[in-house]
Symmetry: C2
Subunit: 108 residues, 2 copies
Amino acid sequence: MQIASAEWSGIEQEIAQSAFEKAYRREVEAVVAAVRTRAAHVTELEDVWRLNDFLSARRHEIDGKYDYQYPVLIFVFAQLIKEGWLQLDDLKGLADEKLVKISALVRM
Amino acid sequence: MQIASAEWSGIEQEIAQSAFEKAYRREVEAVVAAVRTRAAHVTELEDVWRLNDFLSARRHEIDGKYDYQYPVLIFVFAQLIKEGWLQLDDLKGLADEKLVKISALVRM
């Protein structure tokens, strides 16, 4: 179900980039907030290492997820919608074909 | 410069254990405080990953350092004194021979 970069029009690329950045900003804000909340409740070394594990996992996950490559972008968007960082509405303006594919992936 | 466990009297073992735990508690408190301070200043993802790196480094260091094995204990105590988690006074009651060795290591 790959869609190569040539199939994304200029306006679609702008919409995609903007949605991608919006999701990223939202997730970053959530991570920052989670770090502050968790850190405020740290009292023992075990809590510290738990925070360390949490951060390592988020880092691995975020590094892997925010991959702005047109051939995989509909999968990325589907995942971001599933996780709540994006709504289908944020992608309004993309070709119907893409929106249908993304919606199908979200329901999977 | 190893001193086997047989060379630590019962009372020395008590002093050593108590000093070891004191240093550990102090360092844990410092790490917990550092985590809270750093986390309060986190605003971007880069700050989060920097905190993660800091925690990973501290974990590695602390896991390696707090090794309660009599043959290496005078090295451990020397390092804890160098780093400020312990004072020579906390080891009062150990045989002079050990205190002299620890002092020598601290000055190295």
